[in-house]
Symmetry: C2
Subunit: 252 residues, 2 copies
DNA sequence: AAGTACTAATTGGTCAGGCCAGTTGACCAG
DNA sequence: CTGGTCAACTGGCCTGACCAATTAGTACTT
């Protein structure tokens, strides 16, 4: 309840500062940044720190580092990074709502294209999921495989990637603890049943049914999630390194 | 047509190696990695290099670095980075197809929720776009504002982010040059007309119409893009640092 | 015996300075 | 004007060191 300190690491601050200068247009697209040594001097930090900050921006796709030449601004907009520290603006419900909208459309499209091989892939994920409802990590993996498997039916790599990214977003430390109170084989089995309904609708070529089943699944997922609210901030232990690692969150 | 040379930077190689160990499960989720000093020794590189590699993985959301404690595996799946070097598996058409599916659903949803303020925001983007059809960079910015503006109507931060990310994906060096041959005020004006149709349907609360208009827009965008094929590999110059920076790609 | 306060080892964060390799542009010979 | 050389950047990587946060162990108190 206390300390908002945070004490961000220095290279993060430097990265933020440069990112801001790019976003504001102070550093135009295509322009070359000052040399690492100059940046270090201007910002009063060491060169390694500047390098680490620039690597962050490079991974984010904002700048392009060319050896021996310089560092160039590639794009202006953040192209936000998937993992790590996202602003808590995107809450669990927001994420699930977005998934509902997008994955419903994907399921609808998939229903009209599914071939036997695709269904077999979904079945494999379902079978695997059913066998590991007691393993919090393995069951998440099977869950993920099912959702990305539906996107794979459409045969579009971008859709597969986006679906996977949205799924992975709940793995963040922030999300991780929220659902640890209501997880269990029982709720996983409920999720599995909903998965089966989706699978059947897609296998039958029922576009509307697949869309409805997916919406029902994510709605139920949201409800399971909301039921865990009100108690998630009860205990603040589990900081030790030997405790259970970050488990899953909501069944989807 | 020649040199595929690459000579990946060392810290990239280290990052790839660790990423692989995580993906293969050799480093389990929640597990603590060896200390930076140990990793440096085991990999026969210096500690700064290890640090840079770990920062890459942290930005990607794969690991969680805790000062004084250690480095922990957060998730197993790549959660692919948005910018930089994506596999060329995702081509322009794949991207546009994915956008068609997702943004149509968003437009459909937005039509039922749009308030006067939202429409005003879209109009602002349209006006701005009309005024800068000759500025390849500024027009892209207005284009982006329109598409994310539609997502904003739904009021979901995740949707806004995903829409923006997909838009930004064409800024990559790979995509950038592809469309430089057919860009121009004329095609931008066509895109602007299609935008207006989408705006009108949303303003009228016509969900089906908004969906159709968005689909038409992205289909046309795809067509404009395909017309530029067959000639995009004609000239390979424009490497100089003072040339025009990466311009836009397809009008959307 | 249990809990607490303190201490020491471990680990990431930052810095300084240096050398190497690739890039670039100016200069010079043909 | 063409081609090659060369020197001045610029990023890539390294060594070694110190600081700060965390954590585990220990001695002390209750």
């Amino acid at each position: 309840m206390f300390s908002p300190v945070e004490s961000r690491r220095l290279y993060r601050q430097v990265a933020d500062q440069i990112r801001l200068m790019i976003a504001s247009g102070e550093l135009a697209v295509g322009q070359r940044l000052p040399a690492e040594r100059d940046l270090a001097e201007q910002l009063s930090v060491s060169r390694p720190t500047v390098r680490e900050a620039l690597i962050v921006l490079e991974v984010e796709g904002l700048v392009n580092i060319r050896m021996g030449s310089g560092i160039y601004v590639v794009r202006q907009h953040a192209a936000t990074v998937t993992g790590a520290e996202r602003e808590p603006v995107e809450g669990p419900f927001e994420l699930l709502q977005a998934r509902a909208l997008i994955e419903c459309a994907i399921a609808e499209e998939a229903a009209g294209r599914a071939k036997p091989d695709d269904i077999a892939l979904l079945d494999e994920a379902l079978t695997r999921m059913g066998g590991v409802v007691n393993d919090a990590i393995a069951v998440l993996d099977a869950d993920r495989a099912f959702h990305t498997g539906i996107a794979a039916i459409v045969g579009n790599a971008t859709l597969i990637r986006v679906t996977g990214e949205m799924f992975d977003m709940r793995m963040t430390p922030y999300f991780a603890r929220l659902a640890s109170h209501f997880e269990g084989p029982t709720t996983w089995r409920s999720a599995l049943d909903e998965h089966r309904a989706i699978r059947d609708a897609i296998a039958a070529g029922d576009a509307a049914g697949a869309k409805a089943a997916m919406r029902a699944h994510l709605t139920m997922s949201q409800k399971r999630f909301s039921e865990s609210f009100g108690e998630e901030f009860s205990g603040e232990e589990e900081r030790g390194r030997n405790k259970r690692p970050s488990k899953g969150t909501a069944k989807t």
